[in-house]
Symmetry: D2
Subunit: 134 residues, 4 copies
Amino acid sequence: MIQATTQIRVRYGETDQMGYVYYGNYATYFEVARVELLRTNGITYKELEENGIMLPVLKLEVKYHKPVKYDDLLTVKTTVSKEPSITIDFDFEIYNEKNELLTTGFTSLVFIDMKRNRPTRATQNILDLFHKNN
Amino acid sequence: MIQATTQIRVRYGETDQMGYVYYGNYATYFEVARVELLRTNGITYKELEENGIMLPVLKLEVKYHKPVKYDDLLTVKTTVSKEPSITIDFDFEIYNEKNELLTTGFTSLVFIDMKRNRPTRATQNILDLFHKNN
Amino acid sequence: MIQATTQIRVRYGETDQMGYVYYGNYATYFEVARVELLRTNGITYKELEENGIMLPVLKLEVKYHKPVKYDDLLTVKTTVSKEPSITIDFDFEIYNEKNELLTTGFTSLVFIDMKRNRPTRATQNILDLFHKNN
Amino acid sequence: MIQATTQIRVRYGETDQMGYVYYGNYATYFEVARVELLRTNGITYKELEENGIMLPVLKLEVKYHKPVKYDDLLTVKTTVSKEPSITIDFDFEIYNEKNELLTTGFTSLVFIDMKRNRPTRATQNILDLFHKNN
């Protein structure tokens, strides 16, 4: 298992006229949270791409329990609970400063060998990270 | 059942450095498709809000089957197959100009009475629309 | 001179909690307007890139005269009044359905030869277009 | 004069297929930088709005000197050099980790009394801040 928490401040442009964060922008928070989970553990997504591996998203799920508002300081808890194979799955929980659960989400990404443009096995550094924490 | 199709041209700013549409931007395509499904049938979401009803999203699901690319002219097929109650569910299919299925998605929205800030029944014009087409 | 008008419907996600279009999103409207000015004249920006020429933006200016609102059907008038050289300049005016001028803007873009990653002369098809209309 | 620096990490969704940050997204960086300049000095924009003052943007200028790339850790230097009146002007400089100047920008915002929906004088706490630092 791999777990990490990241803090994100809601930007004005992420809200819509309802006064909440626009429902498509949570995907960005999940992206930031995934990338920071890796960075905390010494892996940068940027280097993965420079080494010829990219991770497009196959599936996204979001449940909007309570509205997220402008200037909220969010805590995103990210968990990888299943051993990565050709895909890697992330679960997300978004909390506000009162520790209320606002949003839950899930993304499944696939490892793509950019040269061959085909799915490939999880990189060794990510597998090692998963097993070290298991 | 209510069905409609909408065409959307992919904008440059919607792509990311992978060369595909960023995975969070499909939520916007679904929003446009929902709103145009209603407009085609004489209902504007803007007027719903002006009449005190708003429709925040409760749940979003997206499956990314094939990449969507810059300047693609997308056809989004939108279906409401279940009678709206306090919530209204939309299914989406995104096709390119070769009629390849690129993306499927689902959103569930809740009718909110803006004055009381509480869930409420589907508006009569939307129920009528559903039954007229059933 | 090259001129064209394009219609754009304001999306919900483009608004912010002020109830207006977020100030950064006008750049997207200008992008759509530039691309459609070219398309109307038989040139697609996508093909320019496929032929090794890209057009990053060097300068952006926006003046926000009146707020643009959700669901507004905008008319963007785009003008190229100066002969393109290494750069190409576009002026924009955004009108609503009442023909009120809401926004004016300007972008300057540079022709980049993608192989050499260096500035280059305007493509012949764009120069021809400019002179045909002059 | 008021000055502050803020750090911003470039998100994947902010890039486009050119491999740079999309030109409209710098407006967001300027928004974050303005808000953090105020927060550093004990003023939150959120509270301004809660107290009935909003600050829509009147004018935006951006000059793109060098491309900003994915995962860059940006330093935004923000300066208010002119005494705020009905408007407040901000100048921005964006640097990367090598201290290269990538982008310069300018925004002019207007103080709006939300109840009357009319321009109004700069708030006292912002004027005090300007004079304290002058």
